[in-house]
């Protein structure tokens, strides 16, 4: 069973006058445990695909199935599926709530599910991404960009997802910080057996991380590159 099966996916945005079709009926499959890339120039639709899978944009048509369970178009994702699909956003500065301290950012998803010993789990989550427990008391603006992204990754992993969507996870970071984050992501993938869908415009990142990648342009998939093809570029 594939981790993700996408068939004839179309995503349209309602503009002021007419709609804009960002994705025009694409299909692809991702095997469990793979890192699958979505690459292409800006405006090609890769982020729209990601957000549709994430359930952030429910305005799509077609079929999306995650580990055999279909997503319902037009409806938000609930239940087990909501925990199994998680996302790391591009700019940690704008995905971590500036007025919440880290303990709350990591603790809230757990406490709303009635889990016990939230403090312990938060510490464990921070430990998992290589951050000291003291970070829990800080606010996002008090920690560095690399640390913020680690918190974002820790949050994405809290609910033990099977599919992790990564939207340019390192493009806002310095090269050396990026190296640490990419290493972390790969370590976590191996230890927890997660499937990654990675959107990136950096050919080096794609060549380093991805097993396969779909090249998109103007809402369509032009080509699916396998490892051999990827190892040529970047």
């Amino acid at each position: 069973m594939s981790a993700l099966a996408v068939k004839d996916l179309s995503v349209t945005f309602q503009g002021a006058s007419k709609g804009f079709t960002a994705v025009r009926g694409i299909s692809f499959d991702v095997a469990a445990g793979e890192t699958f890339g979505l690459i292409g120039p800006s405006g090609c639709g890769k982020t729209s695909v990601l957000r549709a899978i994430a359930g952030l944009n429910t305005n799509w048509q077609g079929d999306i199935s995650v580990f055999g369970q279909p997503l319902a178009a037009g409806r938000r994702i609930t239940g087990m599926l909501r925990e199994e699909i998680q996302m790391v956003f591009q700019d940690p500065y704008s995905s971590l709530h500036p007025r919440h301290h880290i303990a709350r950012i990591l603790g809230e998803p757990l406490s709303i599910r009635g889990m016990s010993d939230v403090t312990e789990r938060v510490r464990g989550a921070l430990d998992q991404v290589g951050l000291p427990a003291a970070v829990a008391q800080r606010y996002p603006h008090q920690i560095s960009g690399g640390q913020r992204q680690r918190v974002a990754i820790a949050r994405a992993l809290l609910l033990k997802p099977k599919l992790l969507l990564l939207d340019e996870p390192t493009s806002a970071l310095d090269v050396s910080v990026q190296a640490g984050i990419l290493n972390l992501l790969n370590d976590l993938k191996t230890s927890q057996g997660i499937t990654f869908i990675l959107v990136s415009h950096d050919p080096g990142v794609v060549a380093h991380m991805c097993d396969r990648a779909a090249v998109m342009k103007k809402g369509l998939i032009e080509d699916i590159l396998d490892r051999t093809a990827l190892s040529v570029g970047g």
């Binding site: 120039p41 960009g145 090269v175 290493n183 415009h201 380093h208 990827l230 970047g234």
Partner: protein
């Protein structure tokens, strides 16, 4: 040997704060000739501040000190803002990261491209337009007449960047400072932009100070490279030597780049990640 265009000796920039004086650039010395010199470093290295200091665009409150800071025979350390204005349109040019924030959306492109000529030369309107169209063609824009008459909103990111280059080069500055000129662009546009800058630099006999965080980009397009780290110059070398640099920091920075070759391996991480 030719006198360098820009010469900096023991340049320091600091900011007052509650914790005392914070040093952002700490006594660096370098020179730029008729070449492409890259200032490369991560955030906090001081590379952008250095660029701003040379343009006289340091933020308010910044304290700059230098034993020597000379451009084209003129002392930069003690200029009034009137002097700076005279210098910026003629001898010095600046290209910034995002053309959307540099081009005024309310004015037509042609007018903005000509602006330096309007302020600093006595050319007639017809002559200015000629030069503007010529420049727009030189930067590789198709249909210069149409672009001349358009507003910035009608341009794509790549086109906007070319327009900005045209605007900056129209008065043939001697030194161009480009501060992360390509980070807002897609990969293939980045290459086009830098190739254009390189050819124009050669054609006009200018110097180009390229400020970037991208080591690989710099290795392909610059002649010499200055690696900055925490306000100091870590190392200086030709771009060809970047891949086998001397200092462990530079080597680590070079090796930390992900690529097809690093697939399946851990990327080396320099020890003191803050």
């Amino acid at each position: 040997m030719l006198e360098p265009l820009l010469s900096a000796e023991e340049l320091s920039i600091s900011f007052p704060s509650d914790a005392g004086l914070v040093s952002v650039v700490d006594r660096i010395s370098f020179s730029v000739g008729h070449e492409i010199l890259a200032l490369v470093g991560e955030s906090g290295s001081g590379k952008s501040m250095t660029g701003r200091a040379i343009m006289g665009l340091l933020p308010r409150g910044a304290i700059m000190r230098a034993r020597r800071l000379v451009f084209d025979g003129k002392d930069l350390a003690t200029r009034s803002s009137a002097d700076w204005n005279a210098l910026r349109g003629t001898g010095l040019g600046l290209i910034l990261q995002d053309p959307r924030y540099s081009l005024n959306p309310a004015h037509r492109v042609g007018r903005q491209v000509e602006e330096a000529l309007l302020l600093h030369t006595k050319l007639s309107a017809v002559e200015r337009r000629e030069r503007a169209l010529d420049m727009l063609e030189k930067v590789g824009l198709p249909d210069p007449k149409r672009i001349y008459a358009s507003y910035p909103a009608a341009l794509s990111g790549g086109m906007g960047q070319r327009v900005m280059i045209a605007a900056m080069l129209i008065n043939r500055p001697k030194l161009l400072i480009a501060d992360e000129p390509t980070s807002a662009l897609d990969r293939d546009l980045q290459d086009q932009m830098l190739t254009l800058l390189r050819s124009l630099t050669e054609e006009f006999g200018m110097g180009l100070l390229l400020i970037s965080h991208d080591l690989q980009q710099v290795s392909r397009y610059a002649d010499r490279v200055l690696v900055m780290r925490q306000g100091r110059i870590e190392e200086e070398m030709t771009s060809a030597d970047l891949s086998h640099a001397g200092s462990p920091y530079t080597r680590a920075l070079w090796a930390a780049r992900p690529s097809a070759a690093t697939y399946g391996t851990r990327l080396p991480v320099y020890e003191d990640e803050q």
